[in-house]
């Protein structure tokens, strides 16, 4: 069930009504039932997978919790008798036991994700390897189902397990409550990836109907639909056209595509997240923000602190940090210092962890070389800019006025926007050599006149569409800029007339200009005589 379907809107209306009509004590149960209904409607066969993740995580967390409780009781009871060393040894033993439980659960759940998501990719690569070495055999590529949102719910739930292991979260004692945390329907498809300690108390708490929450939530949902339907789904037509026949759309079209795809993915992803956060907000639940004006970033590092924030922080907390401070890495660090000197040696573990993290981030996005190369290029950009940092620093010191100016900031933002867009275009072509070739064509044949003399309409969008897209982008930019200091909804809250005018206009715009329904492709609606 897509957010942009009539069924989903009806489903949402029913869930919201039940949520506030039924006794507050049952609110979490309403959400659980709704989440499982949502999941079942998307594919009943998927339920087994999310159930396995829920059950194994529940069991593992409870076991770890029991080990910790036992440890606490033992130390409290006999703490006096033990020496410091004995205590340490006892704690280490218990920690090892918890670590074992954690590893088993992680292996199982990431294993499911890996098998379902990456087997086909792995087999294809093994086949091409075999061919390279002249082997005749070809393994059949299996076609496995990929349960909806598996990457998101697996990550969110594994984060919970690691938190329990680190004693940052208590093991949940009610399996149904954990099931809700794993499956909370607004964020099931595309995140944000929430932390147990943030989300769980809100999910299981009672929320009374508050006009402000519901108003804010509905406004945000509407805003999300505007971005998704009016802008993203319209731009998508051109992006698909350019991606499907790259041979016709080289040079300046690639440049245009980079911009269009940036607009499309921004409007689609942030719009979807707006809908998700808006739904939760209407229920009195505050989810973590996933975006913070990403296209205003002046550097790649800043961009990744502003774009898909919850995924970035997940990888930071659960991959980058543990990897970079694990014992083998510290050992490498010590050795590299000895061999390369302090200055270089210091960086090796950091960069190694960066590369590993980005490799996994790329892989998480999808099973394909384009995603892996995408991740590694991000790592490369981050490392290079880190290396250039002293240079920048000197530049800033020499020209402080220039660097503080508005123009320089705009330049840095546009540079980051284009760089990220360029790397992101790997995602459009889904083919690494082709993408590189298309990048090359930007410089070899920049056929701007062709574009201006009508070639732009070859991408399947008419003049009206481009006008709508440009207006939509201006509105997005305006709303985002206005919201920098104080959110637009706060500004509107005590001005009901203005608020209704704007929301009404937005609603009519979604109905009228949204790229939805069979009707969208107007050329379909040409009758022939019958």
């Amino acid at each position: 069930m897509l957010f942009t379907s009539y069924e989903f809107l009806a489903f949402l209306a029913i869930v919201l009504a039940l949520y506030y009509i039924l006794p507050k004590k049952t609110q979490w149960a309403v959400l659980l039932a709704a989440s499982y209904a949502f999941y079942a409607l998307s594919g009943i066969e998927y339920l087994a997978f999310i159930a396995v993740t829920t059950i194994t995580s529940f069991a593992a967390a409870r076991l770890m919790g029991r080990v910790s409780d036992g440890e606490k009781r033992y130390l409290e009871g006999r703490g006096e008798e033990l020496s410091k060393e004995e205590k340490k040894a006892y704690k280490a033993k218990k920690k090892k036991r918890r670590f074992l439980i954690l590893c088993l659960a992680l292996a199982l759940n990431f294993g499911i994700l890996a098998v379902l998501k990456y087997t086909a990719f792995a087999v294809v690569n093994v086949n091409s390897l075999l061919h390279t070495f002249g082997a005749e055999t070809t393994l059949t590529v299996p076609s496995l189902i990929l349960p909806l949102g598996i990457s998101f719910y697996t990550f969110q739930t594994m984060g919970y397990l690691i938190d329990v292991y680190w004693a940052k979260a208590e093991a949940q004692k009610n399996i149904f409550k954990l099931a809700l945390f794993t499956s909370f329907f607004p964020q099931l498809i595309q995140g944000p990836i929430s932390r147990f300690s943030d989300l769980a108390p809100q999910l299981f708490g009672e929320h009374k109907f508050e006009r402000k929450n519901v108003t804010y939530g509905l406004q945000r949902i509407l805003w999300g639909y505007f971005k998704k339907l009016v802008i993203a789904d319209r731009v998508l037509i051109a992006v698909n056209a350019a991606a499907e026949s790259p041979e016709n759309f080289g040079g300046v079209y690639v440049f245009l595509l980079i911009i269009l795809y940036s607009v499309q993915i921004y409007a689609d992803f942030t719009g979807g997240i707006d809908i998700t956060i808006g739904i939760a907000e209407a229920m009195g639940i505050r989810l973590a923000e996933n975006f913070n004006r990403p296209f205003s970033s002046r550097s790649t590092k800043e961009y990744w602190n502003r774009w898909h924030i919850t995924m970035g922080s997940w990888f930071n907390d659960y991959v980058f940090n543990p990897v970079s401070v694990c014992r083998p890495m510290l050992a490498i660090s010590k050795k590299s210092r000895k061999w390369f000197g302090k200055k270089v040696g210091k960086r090796i573990p950091v960069y190694l962890a960066t590369v590993i993290t980005w490799f996994l981030t790329g892989l998480w996005h999808g099973a394909g070389w384009n995603f892996i190369v995408w991740g590694l290029l991000n790592a490369l950009v981050i490392i290079v800019s880190q290396e250039l940092e002293p240079l920048y620093s000197r530049f800033r010191k020499r020209f402080p006025r220039l660097c503080a100016s508005w123009g320089y900031g705009a330049f840095a933002s546009i540079r980051t926007f284009l760089l990220m867009g360029l790397i992101r275009s790997l995602d459009v072509y889904r083919n690494v050599p082709l993408t590189f070739k298309m990048w090359g064509s930007i410089f070899t044949k920049f056929n701007l006149p062709e574009l201006l003399s009508g070639g732009i309409s070859a991408l399947g969008l008419g003049l009206a569409d481009y006008i709508i897209i440009v207006c939509g982008c201006i509105i997005m930019f305006a709303v985002s800029s206005l919201g920098k200091e104080r959110s637009v909804r706060d500004r509107l809250y005590n001005r009901p007339v203005l608020s209704w005018c704007l929301c009404g206009a937005l609603f009519v715009a979604v109905i009228l200009f949204g790229a939805y329904s069979v009707g969208y492709d107007a050329s379909q609606f040409i009758y022939n005589q019958f």
């Binding site: 009539y6 008419g462 009206a464 569409d465 709508i468 009901p496 007339v497 209704w500 005018c501 009404g504 609603f507 009519v508 109905i511 009228l512 200009f513 949204g514 790229a515 939805y516 329904s517 069979v518 009707g519 969208y520 107007a522 379909q524 609606f525 009758y527 005589q529 019958f530």
Partner: protein, 339 residues
């Protein structure tokens, strides 16, 4: 608080009115020569009631039978409720709806559409269904007709379906926002052009000639509905037969057999074209796919004799009020026919 509620209600009202107005703009007007057929179904309500014969079916029905001629020659009051690619379940529900307004002596159904057992095309669905007024028949018709990509709510609020026309509005959309001009003569859509049929080759073989259970189901329902209301159900096949819309012998066998089993009258006019006097060089406007007005008049005259002689449909020209209504219709008919 009170003020806030008032503002909310006023705002919702304004938004609804605005959307309603926009909806009237974007709904296709079906007024130009290419899409006129879309207006046919809605034109019935202006003439509903008092008919002796009702016709239902696809284009072969609304391009072949001329109610004006039936009245002028035989005093038979009739209406043609055809629409492009009208599928059998749509014919059924249109008939069911009409029976709420009147009970005729006979119903004539053109059998060509029986070859389709499943929903076919979204645009044609809209042309047939959008013109119906809301009733349980319309709801059932929509549910029976929707293709996978369609949603019921888009029939309730057509703006959801047609909104993208907002960037392609023409002067017609404003001119006819609150009502389109009449396009038919009691459901007959007049074509005065002549484009002779020169190609008489047979249609290509099809994969499957079996008329589906779903199509039979609705024909059965139509038969039962007529029986209940004491109406004679007459099956016909228009005389046109071109390569593209070929009436295969296999279809003919199945229909004949069905008619025989259920004691229905069935007239296949294809082999009778010569006897009727149809000349394929002058009586078609599109190379033989459909009759033009000259061909339709000949066929109607022929069929009118069957209706009055074999089925005993009475001459009602002595009915003063009916005559008055038909005089107006005849006048407009001849005005268009003779330019």
């Amino acid at each position: 608080m009170k003020k806030r509620i008032l503002i909310t209600l006023a705002a919702i009202l304004v938004i609804c009115l605005l959307l309603a107005f926009l909806q009237t703009l974007v709904i296709p007007k079906y007024a130009d020569d290419k899409t006129k057929e879309g207006s046919l179904v809605s034109e019935y309500y202006a003439e509903a009631g008092g008919h002796d014969v009702l016709f239902v079916g696809d284009c072969e029905i609304y391009e072949s039978f001329v109610p004006a001629v039936l009245w002028e020659k035989y005093g038979i009051s009739s209406y043609v409720r055809g629409s492009p690619q009208q599928l059998v379940w749509q014919s059924y529900y249109l008939l069911e709806e009409m029976l709420e307004y009147e009970t005729p002596n006979a119903v004539v159904f053109n059998v060509f559409s029986l070859k389709y057992g499943e929903p076919q095309s979204e645009p044609y669905n809209r042309m047939t269904l959008d013109g119906m007024r809301w009733s349980s028949s319309k709801i059932d018709a929509i549910n029976a007709s929707m293709t996978d990509e369609e949603s019921f709510i888009e029939y309730v609020f057509p703006i959801l379906r047609f909104h993208s026309r907002i960037t392609q509005l023409t002067s017609q959309d404003f001119k006819y926002a609150f009502g389109s001009p009449k396009v038919s003569h009691s459901g007959y859509l007049m074509q005065t052009g002549v484009d002779p049929q020169t190609d008489f080759s047979k249609g290509r073989t099809e994969l499957d000639y079996e008329i589906s259970d779903n199509a039979w189901k609705y024909l059965d329902m139509m038969r039962a509905l007529c029986e209940e209301n004491g109406i004679e159900l007459i099956l016909v096949k228009a005389p046109t037969n071109t390569m593209k819309y070929w009436w295969h012998d296999e279809y003919e066998e199945q229909i004949s057999e069905y008619a025989e089993e259920n004691r229905l009258s069935y007239y296949n006019f294809i082999p009778l074209a010569g006897e009727i006097g149809i000349d394929w060089s002058t009586d078609t406007y599109d190379k033989g796919a459909h009759l033009n007005v000259y061909g339709a008049e000949k066929l109607t005259e022929y069929f009118g004799r069957i209706l009055s002689e074999d089925f005993g449909i009475e001459d009602r020209r002595t009915d003063a009020s009916l005559s008055e209504a038909w005089d107006v219709r005849l006048e407009s008919y001849y005005k268009e026919r003779n330019g």
